[in-house]
Amino acid sequence: MNNKFDALKDDDSGDHEQDQGSPKDSEKEKIEDDDKEQIIIKKKMVVPGAGEHPLQYNYTFWYSRRTPGRPASTQSYEQNIKQIGSFASVEQFWRFYSHMIRPGDLTGHSDFHLFKEGIKPMWEDDANKMGGKWIIRLRKGLASRCWENLILAMLGEQFMVGEEICGAVVSVRFQEDIISIWNKTASDQATTARIRDTLRRVLNLPPNTIMEYKTHTDSIKAWEDFHGLVNASGGR
């Protein structure tokens, strides 16, 4: 339903152009419900503002933090992950980014995720389930700069792999930080090689930096094996 006029058109007999005084209670409710629906749609369908620089895709920022002592499962992971906001233009991206802590200043076991709007930062999402990710482990002190370079390359469409990119993650851990970029098709070697080469170029990493590609099916298997053995404690 596009707007409240369509809603009225569908429901009544077409006499809504006549002045009937105040609407009946049921109609009033309908209009209010529809306004609520409009607000939800507006929040979901973010568009570039006038004069702003549009992005190829809309994106959503997410944040997650492991809560100690709670059982880890797909369900609790989904509950733990918080949506910060979505954007459609370069200017809107900077507005969110400049109002968020830098990854290097995060404490504890936490992650920032930046994914295309509509893709959840989860292995199980339809866009991710056949996919995988490039992982780069970083010594402490590099995360903020590398994360910024990574997401600027993604938003600026520097990877040149069509629709393949799903999103990027920075994971702050105890002794190291990890950045990763997720793509749709793990079996597409031309795509994964191109992503790797672009990563090397845009991140300006030291030559000895190790890059590892991991399929999400391997990640799921490793996670299930581990949690089967240690009785479900910890994150993913």
């Binding site: 620089h53 918080k82 949506q83 802590i101 830098r102 600027l152 600026g156 469409e157």
Partner: protein, 72 residues
């Protein structure tokens, strides 16, 4: 005279063709270099607080500059 004026008026009311814009977007992807994106970070539009920002420990009250601008 009257008729032709009316026709002219109606011609201006022909619907726009929004699909043409989308067709163009499909051909060329919108790409930006890192330098261009960083330059835009300094624009006043980029520093405004987003409308629907949740209250959260990782959300800042004041905007901070991007890492690249901070360091150089």
């Amino acid at each position: 005279m009257e008729v032709s004026r009316k026709r002219l008026f109606l011609k201006h009311l022909e619907p726009a063709r929004p699909l043409r814009r989308h067709a163009q977007l499909d051909v060329a992807r919108i790409s930006y270099t890192r330098g261009f994106l960083i330059d835009l970070a300094s624009s006043p539009e980029a520093k405004k607080r987003p409308e629907h920002l949740p209250e959260h420990p990782i959300v800042l009250t004041e905007a901070v500059r991007c890492v690249q601008v901070q360091d150089f």
